[in-house]
């Protein structure tokens, strides 16, 4: 199964992904695109992930096949879901989500079809829909971003609940409550630790720790941590790739909601005229090339065996993610309600 160079890097101009981080890595394992069925025809993708993240990869895939045209509609996930629900028949063949909630939502509303087994079986079990309607492409962990000048990694607790109690963080911690990824994290906390414990954690954060809300999502939070505005922030692991600079470090908690992960992924739309090609496109996102691209370029954790996460990140063996069905993140309402009741939103 292990491929050679797979055509990557043979020619400098043909390099897929960020050359800085690709260099020196072992050849990726997994299935090469070359071994996958050819893609033909017109594909329309509604993508909740943005062009800077995946545009290069999509163009690469399109360039592999003469008869393939891929049109991508980049937009907010919420816009795309609303659009699909509003359209009388969606032109989308594939929905590319930046988290599972949107995909589960589409699945539950009957907009999607099951993926073929040969696609689903490529993926680690924790990162794919048990019903096979969607599959993850990458994993993104919740993490604690900290200012290296203020703390060392081992000074930070590995228990998310400690962050609500530790007096060191009083007035010196930030979260981004209006972000979907944060809300998913709260959802997982509710699922894993229960409603009451979650509520009291939120209360402590507000009342005792005087937590600040990020002015502009996770990137601003990372910036604030990097600038020393606050020393600690609750965010996503990949944010540190672009923001905050070298002074931002990442810490993970263990076996609690603080280390939960979500996946970016894809699902095939039932309205698609060619669900087979659509499913094969999804399959291409699970290829060795694509997974290597994600690992090195978006700093996310691969979902297939054979491709390792970036060396700059803690390995998955260094902490213990909690276990739960990602589909359960789908219903945000109780979380939103909780956040509203505590005047966080």
């Amino acid at each position: 199964m292990v491929s050679g160079c797979l055509g990557l890097g043979d020619d400098e101009s043909d390099v897929l992904g960020d050359p800085t981080y690709r260099e020196g890595r072992p050849d990726p394992g997994g299935v090469s695109m070359e071994e996958m069925p050819d893609l033909n025809g017109d594909l329309t993708i509604y993508s909740g992930r943005s062009q800077p993240r995946i545009g290069e990869l999509i163009e690469y895939v399109e360039a592999q096949y003469d008869d393939l045209t891929i049109e991508v509609r980049y937009d907010d996930t919420a816009d795309l879901i609303s659009t699909i629900e509003t359209e009388s028949e969606t032109p989308a063949d594939v929905f590319y989500g930046s988290e599972t909630q949107s995909m589960t939502h589409l699945k539950d509303e009957g907009y999607t079809v099951e993926l073929p087994d040969e696609v689903v079986e490529l993926v680690d079990t924790g990162s794919v829909d048990p019903d096979g309607h969607w599959t993850g492409f990458t994993r993104r962990f919740r993490a604690v971003a900290y200012n290296r000048d203020a703390y060392d990694a081992d000074e930070l607790p590995d228990d998310i609940f400690a962050y609500a109690e530790d007096e060191r963080f009083r007035g010196d911690i930030m979260w981004p409550p209006d972000q979907g990824s944060f809300q998913a994290f709260i959802t997982s906390m509710r699922l894993l630790h229960g409603e009451d414990e979650t509520r009291s954690w939120i209360r402590s954060m507000i009342d005792d720790q005087d937590i600040e809300a990020s002015p502009g999502g996770d990137s601003a939070l990372a910036q604030a941590v990097g600038d020393g505005e606050v020393s600690v922030g609750l965010t996503n692991h990949y944010v540190v790739r672009d923001h905050g600079g070298d002074s931002v470090g990442l810490a993970f908690t263990s076996d609690d909601a603080g280390a939960m992960y979500n996946v970016t992924g894809g699902t095939v739309m039932a309205d698609s005229d060619d669900t087979e090609t659509a499913a094969n496109f999804v399959r291409h996102m699970l290829s060795a090339e694509a997974q290597e691209y994600f690992a090195t370029t978006t700093w996310e954790y691969p979902v297939i065996d054979g491709v390792a996460p970036l060396e700059e990140l803690p390995g998955t063996d260094e902490f213990e993610p909690p276990e739960f069905d990602l589909n359960e993140l789908d219903d945000p309402d109780p979380t939103l309600e909780l956040l509203r009741e505590e005047n966080v939103l």
Binding site: G17, S50, P52, R73, T83, D178, P215, S219, Q223, H243
Partner: protein
């Protein structure tokens, strides 16, 4: 003059003098409701349907929000609506709107005054610069402010060495208000600038003479005059604030838009829709408020040409003023642009593969925004025109309806169009046309507002002028109205364009796949916090939009256009004339140059001749044919008030009839009835024996089909056409001007020569002086050779000296072309000096029509007597022998002419007293003699005495060489020296039984308890002190008119 785009609603450019203002209020005001006469009778159904269709296009997507909102789970909806936070959100939203709007007015209005009315250095630069915040997308500026003012931003690092550890909090209400104000005040600024430029600056002169401080002038005059404009700007600022998402979101202020996005992001767009309804409700309230503030006076700008610019001198205040302007531009424009430049310099910081800016994105933005601007302007036309020209509940509702979606977030409107597009127009879905349409739905109000004010600004006189020159309504709209509103339409289009360039949410939803605009690219970059990538497109966006600002600004864009026009049309022009900006003096007399002396006899030469032997003012061929113009029993009422009642009048071939009357007497309405601009309620109007309006059989020939020319009070020269084009205007469409061998060009040349303005053919009306405009207006009306020429107060807009000269000039021109004319005026000297015949009109009726001398010397009624010149009344009693006893002695019966006999049964209908009975001193007074013969008892009379009918002598003086000693008849109570003459007011000794009923009433304190008062004009050599007892004698050589009591 250029109709300014944002010339806001209902700003009045009223005539300068109070008298004229009154005239407008009473006469034109009533007529304004009538505007285009016959059109008004029936509602313009076609136009209304068109406007309704446009309004529906806007309302339907908004209504979809309501439908969506109905699908929500009621319990959850209620819990959202009634949770305590909703109250906070509502409060925040309302406070935010109120504060931003208030501050926008407080900043925008003074800045507008500074840049329009003062000598602020570099005014033009500031005018553009202060409007520039409109081009900065708020999402960019908010980033900029946060990065500079944030807890660890540039500002903090600058003040830290000074020991300031924390700056005032940017987040929350204060920062949001500050930033939104900086970006929304330009709405108020540009509307106010337009209004200030447009309104008549003579008001400021007037106010400055009355108010002793400058603030008083602003408070009492400038602000009230610009209030509707300010309201229009504030409306836009308020709605923009209500709908702004980016700034409150980034500054963490909880408002409705933010909650809508929270719901939207939680994938519950039905709840987002429900929350949007709150914004729709707030919008409705704002619309009602603005409607209440917007005044509903009769409107539109003047049609006599632009008013000169006005300047307050700032003096030392110049420096603080400059500092304020610089501070605002610095904060709102320079600062965010600097941040963009900083991003640019710092460059892209991370690897993002295929992501990069392409020129194509800029072209996409520009082309879609341009298309949207065009479409919005086209769709705005019917709504704006209907609302501006036909005031009714329906037109108002249709206009207001276009605003309902303005404050709803683009994502909600966008989704609505996703629904309609994918369901009903799948071929258009996710294509450019639907995207353009989305912009139209979002920004139509901007175009409607600008177009509406532009239409309001077009004085209906222009349209009436066009119609009197033979244009049917549609043609008049195309040739006159449309060109005049173009700047307003351009401004509206430019605003739509500016917003289109910045639009993001609807673009994301509706763009074709793979279509990127500047805004979507910036969004993409900023979303990932790749500010380095956002710099170039953001700078491109700002620069392109800055170009469009030129279109938004009211002002001097026309000068360039004119230069081009001149170059094309300059073949006949004397190049030296073209460049020198000399304003020709008004006393250029066409006849002194053209040499041809007019053949004319003056009325003033006939001294003491009897009235019967009156010579006409002008020599013309007396044709005793059928009258050219006939009005028979014409009545016209506005509401319950009759403006003209049962009026009959006829004008002979070649005759010049002056229609004289006090303000509000109905004379202008009479003119408009003749012109076909107003339909009579009853009666008949005939021109050359052909009925052109007959209420009985519903005949009505519209203005353009009558051979009638009009010269308007305020000239109504088409400001967008040159002098030659104005004169030629009526030639193209009527009777084929070129057919009789005389090309239109030659006719224009001849007419310009006739009025002595051949050198001015390529000038524009606002480059002419008042007198010149008047002559051009005359030439224009004469060009189609009308059967009847109507002149509506043609000289009242000229200053006094010029009026006298123009009176002669105009009447000489009329004489030369020998046109039949009706000349309306309230100036008796004008009426009496130019008319062959004068009709005095009082309270909607012709009080008397006669030769000017007969009118003056033989008024039929006191009303006519009082109206024409100074009238004093001397009480008298005629005894059986015809001798009249008066306080100053007796008068033989043949020295009086008894008037208004009808009151006592003296006249019958078959007798025309003025035509046949009056005679002067030569012949006997049949009427009075008859009367005397019929009456056995004595008759109480009032004798009408003009100031020069009597003379006074000092009764105490010894120099009286008379045999009879002078008896003092009265006492001088007032003296006025006017140069060549001295006027005395004499109060007579009261004589029992001879009470005069009417006296000259200038000042009551001089009226000694009902005693008769006489006005007397003496030569400047006669000089008596006030209080001198004098004897009075009647020196008139003609019979004195007498009115029975």
């Amino acid at each position: 003059m250029r109709p300014d785009p944002f010339r806001a609603d209902d700003t009045v450019t009223a005539p300068a003098s109070a008298e004229k203002a009154h005239a407008v209020a009473s006469e034109d005001g009533a007529a304004a409701g009538e505007e285009s006469g016959d059109d008004q009778r029936s509602r313009p159904w076609g136009l209304t349907l068109l406007a309704a269709a446009v309004a529906a296009v806007i309302v339907v997507p908004v209504a979809w929000i309501g439908v969506m909102a109905l699908t929500v789970d009621l319990e959850r909806a209620l819990s959202i609506v009634f949770r305590p936070m909703t109250f906070e959100i509502l409060t925040n939203t309302l406070v935010l709107i109120t504060l931003v709007t208030t501050f926008s007015v407080l900043i925008g209005v003074p800045l507008a005054i500074l840049t329009v009315l003062t000598d602020l250095p570099f005014r033009r630069f500031w005018l553009a610069a202060l409007a520039l915040p409109l081009v900065i997308p708020s999402y960019t500026s908010a980033y900029a402010f946060i990065s500079i003012w944030g807890p660890h931003g540039l500002a903090q690092s600058l003040v830290e060495p000074l020991g300031i550890t924390s700056l005032p909090e940017l987040y929350g209400m204060p920062g949001t208000v500050a930033i939104l104000t900086l970006y929304n005040y330009p709405f108020v600024f540009i509307t106010t600038v337009a209004a200030l430029r447009a309104f008549d600056k003579t008001y400021i002169d007037a106010a400055r003479t009355l108010e002793n401080n400058l603030f008083g002038v602003f408070r009492e005059v400038v602000l009230p005059m610009t209030k509707p404009a300010i309201a229009a700007g504030a409306l836009l600022a308020a709605l923009e604030t209500a709908g702004d998402f980016g700034v409150p979101a980034m500054l963490r202020l909880n408002v409705f838009t933010r909650q809508i996005y929270v719901e939207h992001n939680a994938l519950s767009h039905d709840y987002a829709a429900m929350l949007s309804l709150h914004l729709v409700a707030i919008t409705l309230v704002i619309l009602v408020l603005e409607y209440a503030v917007r005044e509903h006076r009769t409107i539109h700008g003047g049609s006599r040409g632009g008013s000169r610019s006005y300047t307050f001198h700032l003096g030392a205040w110049k420096w603080p003023a400059l500092a304020v302007c610089a501070a605002i531009v610095g904060l709102a424009v320079v600062l965010p642009v600097s941040v963009l430049l900083w991003w640019l310099v710092r460059g892209p910081e991370t690897y993002v593969g295929a992501f990069g800016f392409r020129l194509e994105y800029a072209l996409n933005s520009v082309s879609v925004s341009l298309l949207a601007a065009l479409a919005a302007v086209v769709l705005a036309l019917p709504v704006a025109y209907l609302s501006a020209r036909y005031r009714s509940l329906a037109s108002t509702v249709l206009e207001r309806a276009t605003y309902v979606g303005f404050a709803v977030p683009g994502v909600v409107i966008g989704l609505s169009l996703v629904y309609f597009g994918s369901a009903y127009a799948p071929t258009l879905y996710q294509t450019i046309p639907l995207l353009v349409f989305a912009y139209v739905v979002l920004y139509l109000p901007l175009a409607v507002g600008a177009a509406r004010t532009a239409f309001l600004y077009v004085n209906p006189r222009f349209v009436e002028a066009a119609r009197s020159l033979g244009c049917p309504p549609r043609t008049a709209f195309r040739r006159v109205t449309l060109p005049l509103v173009v700047p307003g339409l351009v401004a509206g289009g430019a605003l739509v364009f500016l917003h289109g360039m910045k639009e993001l949410p609807a673009t994301l939803l509706l763009r074709p796949a793979g279509f990127d605009s500047l805004a979507t690219f910036i969004w993409m970059a900023e979303r990932n916090a790749y500010y380095g990538y956002a710099a170039v497109p953001a700078l491109v966006l700002v620069c392109v939009s800055a170009l469009a600002i030129v279109g938004v600004l009211p002002g001097d864009g026309t000068s360039l256009w004119r230069r081009v026009r001149r170059r094309i049309g300059t073949k006949r022009m004397n190049p030296t004339n073209q460049n020198e900006e000399t304003t020709e003096r008004d006393d250029t007399d066409p006849f002194s140059r053209s040499g041809g002396q007019p053949t004319r006899t003056r009325s003033a030469t006939d001294g003491g001749n009897p009235v019967r032997a009156d010579t006409p003012n002008r020599s013309r061929s007396d044709s005793e044919g059928a009258p050219v113009l006939e009005l028979e029993c014409v009545t016209k009422s506005y509401g319950a008030r009759p403006a003209v009642s049962d009026l009959s009048l006829s004008v002979q071939e070649g005759e010049l009839l002056t229609l004289l009357g006090p303000s509000g007497c109905g004379k202008t309405t009479t003119l408009r009835l003749i012109a076909g601009l107003v339909r009579p309620d009853s009666g008949t109007v005939r021109i050359r024996e052909k009925s052109v309006a007959d209420a009985a059989d519903e005949t009505f020939v519209p203005s353009e089909d009558r051979d009638v020319g009009i010269v308007f009070q305020d000239f109504a020269l088409f400001p967008h056409k040159t002098v030659a084009e104005n004169v030629a205007f009526g030639l193209g469409d009527r009777d084929g001007a070129g057919e009789d061998g005389q090309p239109a060009d030659e006719t224009v040349d001849d007419l310009l020569e006739l009025v002595g303005l051949s050198d001015y053919r390529d000038r524009f009306p606002d480059e002419l002086s008042g007198g010149q405009k008047q002559r051009i207006a005359l030439a224009r009306s004469l060009a189609p050779e009308p059967d009847v020429l109507l002149l509506d107060e043609p000289l009242s807009n000229l200053d006094a000296g010029l009026r006298v000269r123009m009176r002669e000039t105009v009447s000489e021109i009329l004489d030369r072309v020998d046109v039949t004319a009706v000349w309306v005026t309230h100036d008796q000297t004008e009426a009496l000096s130019v008319g062959d015949r004068t009709a005095v009109m009082i309270d909607g009726e012709i009080a008397q029509a006669d030769s000017p001398r007969a009118l003056f010397m033989r008024p039929e009624s006191r009303a006519v007597a009082d109206f024409l010149g100074q009238a004093s009344y001397l009480p008298g009693r005629q005894n059986g022998t015809g001798v009249v006893e008066t306080p100053i002695g007796t008068l033989d019966g043949d020295r009086i002419a008894l008037q208004s006999g009808a009151e006592r049964g003296g006249y019958t209908d078959r007798e025309q007293p003025q035509e046949h009975n009056d005679s002067g001193n030569g012949s006997d007074n049949d009427a009075s003699n008859n009367n005397v013969a019929n009456e056995s008892t004595s008759l109480d009379l009032d004798l009408l005495l003009r100031p020069d009918d009597i003379s006074i002598t000092d009764s105490t003086s010894d120099s009286a060489s008379d045999s009879t000693p002078d008896i003092a008849d009265g006492r001088i109570v007032h003296r006025q020296f006017t140069g060549s003459t001295v006027r005395y007011r004499v109060v007579l000794e009261s004589t029992s039984g001879l009470e005069n009923t009417q006296s000259v009433g200038q000042s009551d304190e001089d009226n000694a308890g009902g005693a008769p008062v006489l006005e007397c004009r003496c030569s400047h050599e006669t000089w008596y002190e006030v209080g001198t007892p004098v004897s009075v004698s009647i020196t008139a050589s003609h019979a004195v008119p007498a009115f029975p009591l």
